[in-house]
């Protein structure tokens, strides 16, 4: 009766969000006196899964799985869960998680909490777990009533902890003869930036206060110096100043980095909904009445066009002294 965790590889390594999920699942397994088993598609080095707490790794084997198609994956994970006797299955609440976790939940009739932010509280038959609701304005405690349970963990809810554990890695042949997905992938456009916004620890974000796309050079430079990903407010994406995958907020993506630096963003409630889970928020705005200051830890009132270049210099100096 192990706890099963779905994990993914990106750029040859186990994804950070997957390691978070394995940490999470192995804590839960310990609480239930059992062990954590990770499942993964692909042949990359997965020693990190053992370091994160998995005792066993099942490499799901079937040619149909290469594109991580939702219908095939659902069936594959179901087969692995059955073989492992797992009644709790953990995902990261990322792209695949959003597609596959609810699908598998419906198939298994498993109660699901999507986007959990805390460890579950388990006592006797009661199993509760917290998740953000109202776009980060509140937190709800969910009770799962069914025997089978699925939880997808909101990325960046817990720091990754790697120990010196090792996992037994075994191939797990999956039978997908009865499943036929009609989805055909035509083209994949990966954005070229090194850093993925949802995974990023540090984010530099800018809004309409930057006046135009030609002024993003300093935003990118500040981000580069900090090793941060870039993000933007909705109007900036709507006007095509920045690509739409950078749009954060209620109608964009929700992020919760360690540090969020907002430059020339007013701090509308819909924007805050996507970033208020950030650990530390810095606001740089020329209007001292900008609402964002009410949700900030640190603020600078002033002109971004003067402050940002000085910040870049300050970061360079800071790095040189480290």
């Amino acid at each position: 009766m192990s706890v099963l965790i779905y994990t993914e590889i990106s750029k040859g390594k186990v994804k950070k969000s997957s390691l978070e999920a394995v940490n999470y699942g192995s804590r839960m397994a310990a609480q239930l006196n059992t062990t954590a088993t990770a499942v993964v598609v692909g042949d990359a080095d997965v020693s990190d899964l053992g370091k994160a707490g998995a005792k066993k790794v099942l490499r799901l084997k079937n040619d149909k799985l290469v594109n991580l198609d939702g219908q095939y994956l659902t069936s594959a994970i179901e087969q692995a869960a059955k073989a492992e006797g797992a009644s709790i299955i953990i995902f990261s609440h990322d792209f695949t998680g959003k597609e596959v976790a609810p699908r598998l939940a419906a198939k298994l009739k498993a109660g699901i909490v999507a986007g959990a932010v805390g460890n579950p509280v388990i006592s006797g038959n009661s199993f509760t777990v917290k998740k953000n609701v109202f776009s980060g304005k509140a937190i709800a405690t969910y009770s799962i009533h069914s025997d089978k349970k699925i939880i997808s963990l909101l990325p960046n809810s817990f720091p990754v902890e790697l120990g010196d554990g090792t996992a037994e890695v075994v191939d797990f042949a999956v039978n997908l003869d009865g499943v036929n997905s009609s989805i055909k992938i035509k083209e994949v456009k990966k954005d070229t930036s090194e850093l993925n916004l949802t995974d990023a620890e540090l984010v530099v974000s800018a809004g309409r206060g930057m006046k135009g796309p030609e002024n993003w050079g300093m935003i990118e430079e500040l981000a580069k110096e900090l090793g941060a990903a870039t993000a933007c407010s909705r109007p900036v994406a709507d006007m095509d100043w920045r690509p739409h995958h950078e749009h954060v907020g209620q109608t964009g993506i929700a992020i919760r980095p360690n540090l969020y630096i907002a430059i020339g963003i007013s701090g509308a409630i819909q924007h805050l909904a996507g970033v208020n889970g950030s650990k530390t928020i810095v606001v740089i705005n020329s209007d001292k009445e900008a609402p964002f200051f009410k949700s900030a830890d640190y603020g600078i009132v002033g002109d971004a066009f003067e402050i940002v270049p000085k910040l870049i210099e300050a970061v360079k100096k800071f790095k040189a002294n480290q």
């Binding site: 109660g111 909490v113 986007g115 109202f134 009770s143 009533h145 540090l202 650990k279 300050a314």
Partner: protein
């Protein structure tokens, strides 16, 4: 082409959130409810554009009680042809998905659209569940959708980029920003909405697998600490020594 758009009834994005009954119930007093933005702006409007270009019918479906009727009428005013309300409590994703699947299974829809997530419970679950219950393919977070000769071409967000795929209909998908632009209903639409069919159906016995036992408000921040604009290096120092963020 027959299109079903699933719509949810949610508090307006500017709502100040509070709870009653010892923090077990969302306080809806004085709250303005609207169609979930992802369902309205992207799913419904794209469905209407496809219908206008290729012919067909757009039905909106809502699981909820009679208090959602204004929201449903708004969807009709924007242009949906007819509406169905299943009189159930929309408080568990699986139970909602079961209602939708039970309704849709013998209606021959070519496309079933949902929004990316609701802005109140942020689950991102119902579309995928409906697809599973109906044995259909599902595409999440679609930002573009075109249909030709019974095949959908969809662009959708994936980890660190986008992917273009093709899928024969029928198909379930969840709509993300980019699929369409919001439409404001005009006077004629609002008048027409009053007489468009809105069918009410009893809920079938659905299985509730989760429930919310309590709520709490997200913690606010303590005071903002201001750094003088003339010395931004001070900020870097504070981020390092105090916030330990860099």
């Amino acid at each position: 082409m027959k299109i079903l758009v699933c719509i949810s009834n949610v508090p307006d994005t500017t709502t100040k959130i509070s709870f009653t009954n010892d923090n077990t119930t969302f306080n809806s007093a004085g709250v303005q409810f609207v169609i979930n933005p992802f369902d309205e702006w992207y799913a419904l409007v794209r469905a209407l554009e496809l219908k206008e270009a290729q012919g067909g019918n757009v039905t909106i479906l809502h699981v909820g009680d009679a208090s959602s009727e204004a929201t449903i009428r708004k969807g009709l005013a924007i242009g949906a042809d007819d509406a169905v309300r299943i009189d159930g409590e929309p408080n568990d994703a699986f139970a909602v998905a079961e209602q939708i699947a039970a309704y849709a299974k013998d209606k021959g829809f070519d496309l079933i659209l949902a929004g990316k997530e609701t802005i109140n419970y942020n689950g991102s679950m119902v579309g995928a569940m409906v697809a599973e219950l109906m044995g259909l393919p599902f595409v999440s977070l679609a930002t573009k959708l075109d249909i030709a000769n019974g095949v959908a071409t969809v662009e959708h967000d994936i980890d660190g980029g986008t992917e273009v795929l093709e899928c024969a209909l029928p198909l379930v998908l969840s709509a993300n920003k980019g699929m369409a632009e919001a439409r404001i209903p005009n006077m004629r639409g609002i008048m027409a909405a009053r007489t468009k069919p809105l069918i009410q159906l009893a809920a079938t016995g659905a299985d509730k697998l989760t429930s919310i036992t309590s709520y709490e408000l997200a913690k606010g921040r303590t005071e903002c600490k201001y750094v003088d604009a003339s010395s931004p290096e001070k900020l870097i120092e504070l981020l390092h020594t105090e916030a330990k963020a860099i």
